[in-house]
Subunit: 165 residues, 6 copies
């Protein structure tokens, strides 16, 4: 299976490029069909760390022991396949994801992706604009709940950014 | 109320700038609180035409006679207040809106906003990326229904763009 | 109104009171726990006819053969138990039901209950107010879809109300 | 802009009438299109205080600093435009809103509006009837969650009403 | 098991058969239309105890005083009519119910029914398979939330099963 | 990577066994992590044909050209990963899927999976029981819409099963 080996060999380089390029801008011609699930999960892990300041995602880690397939699917499919796709820059994908999670009322997941968005250089004000927009498709309760969740996120991040000038 | 008068005077200029600048990039410091609903609706009408190749929005027009408040709210609040806000470029706002409408299963409204996105220079491929992403927050049926609706939209637009091979 | 008289003759005093009082205002101390399901379904049938100008409900009738339990549950539980309860006048219950069906996007069922509301003396304008309100909890797509469905209902009823100028 | 000035002049009188008349019964011919957003927000503030025993709404107040547009939209659009409309009495609008919020599973917002309903003279039993009705459009979990939330609301209000004669 | 015997004595042969057959496998030709609501509620109480290790269901009991109709409807309709139907074995009905509750995001109710499933001999692994499947129709947030709720349920049950060999 | 090679070698045998065994009963210890996406998609294709009387799934086929990633994800993830998992027999998985799709109102997808269920030996009456159950978690509109869709499915299948009395 030389092809898979090739992929593995080329993999780290691509990810380094990825991080350098501002996250996910550079997956030009990923022969995704040739990746094994193990490789896809590895790629998903890279995507998470690139979005999450180099840290693993706690929600995902908690699932690994008791719900291994769900953890693998999140890592290999959601992050490794979907989130690693080229064709959208990280900022846009994260803002669209925040809009989708807010619109369906999944505030805990919105918070995770809003945090990734901030890490990718999205501003607090841009996230607020998404929330304002959500009143139109999904009504005021969804937007107000999302606003509260964003307030929590912003507050959690401020102390840790405390000493920066 | 000189302030309101100022706003009215400055209004056409701002909208011209808006259209020129590639839609909504230039609402720097709109004193929105001083606008009357009539002015907000006018602004919403401008936003629609700027998104919709200069045309009115048929769904909105059909509501005017029988559901005047809903037509006004759509025009003055949704378009005139929310969609005319600065802080997000048109492309990003439209892609996030497409994500939200697709995630909640409102394909007819997604189609309208996907059309606006295409008008604003978003590519078909970028819209597809949004749909792929929607599988994660909202599941496969919502994404597949959105994909079908996008296919319709793409097909409707191809004939009208002439006989190019 | 011989049809109503016929119905009244075949049914207990309570139902006559009900019809006389403007549908459902008078179920003061229904010992519902003592009714059999057959009696509850009969009561549900009365409720439907009282809401539907003496006619059976086509959606319900279509289910009888192939989904008998669902037809029975709709008749005995939804109409016979819930809709026959005292404690809310028919107008208020129908308007609240229209709001609930519209908010969850179930326009076909909203249409049925909006029709019942019109039969109970609710005005078209009151139904429109419910739809306007729905923009707040559930967003604009749900309200706009409900508005279109109401337009259909209003249009269907106008011919059957004759050539009045 | 004499028209706007007229509106402002007439405004306090109308709102006083509104409160006197039992909340919202008297907005006979509001030329809403001539109101500025500032005026609409003021009107929304009045609506809230009239619904909320003269108090501001804490959820709204918390949003003002961090999500000013959402606070303004809630106040000027949701309360100032929608909730101040004539055409439905306060009791009916609140009961319909409770039904809509319960049906979509937004219990926190349902609680706010159920509190307004109690303030407007709706009885606990009428609110329970709305919840019973919600089992039909939206299923038992939504109704049972709404019932629990109403129980909390009823319990919170009983002590504070303790000393009233 | 004198309690069960007591129950059996007070109830018709059909219920004895039911309990003997391992819950609900034997309701061959229930003339349900002839049952009164009181009898249906009694039957629902039997179903609950058979699913819940002989115990009443706390959520239901809490509703009895303040929301008597909702408690009765849950007992007589949901449990007494729907859950006592023949045609599906308990395992399948519970797994399908778990899938439905998880897909609509009602994790608290999913937990109750997942507990019933475990009582009926469904394995933890089978419940996990249902949750994995839910990613497809309803997306990852619903499945991940359901997974967390199942984790809680599994943890709650392990101590109490501690002393069994 | 001998492990992966092993998997590949054993792969066709396993799939033949799968089909022979009446669908999915035999995936005892799939080292799924070693499969490439191409192999997962192939496996998904097998699952579809085994569920769909040997035929490809038209909805999926239509997506291949314009939404290739969504087609691949449906085939490799939804069918190839989730639906090919051991741990649930096909009947139970299909009935749970039908419950989930019906509860979230996705009747078109419910119809596809109800068809697969019938192919796997589930009876029409068992599908009806699932629909009856759905009234409890998701309310009557979802159940009634699902019932209508099942009626269509049953009707479509009857002619094609010939003129049997």
């Amino acid at each position: 299976m030389t092809h898979a080996t090739d992929t593995l060999t080329r993999h780290p380089v691509r990810l380094r490029t990825l991080v350098a390029a501002g996250l996910l801008a550079a997956f030009p011609a990923m022969p995704a069909a040739a990746l094994t699930t193990e490789e896809r999960a590895k790629r998903g892990g890279e995507v998470i760390r690139s979005l999450n300041n180099g840290q693993p995602q706690p929600t995902l880690e908690r699932m690994r022991e008791e719900f291994p397939f769900l953890a693998e699917a999140t890592e290999a499919y959601a992050l490794g396949d979907v989130w690693s796709r080229p064709g959208l820059d990280t900022r846009t994908r994260q803002l669209a994801a925040v809009a989708a999670f807010a619109a369906i009322g999944e505030t805990a997941f919105m918070k995770i992706h809003a945090g990734y968005a901030l890490n990718a250089g999205v501003s607090e004000d841009e996230l607020k604009e998404i929330i304002y927009m959500v009143t139109v498709p999904a009504g005021f309760p969804r937007a107000i709940s999302a606003a509260r969740t964003l307030s929590e996120l912003f507050a959690e991040r401020r102390p840790s950014e405390g000493d920066t000038p």
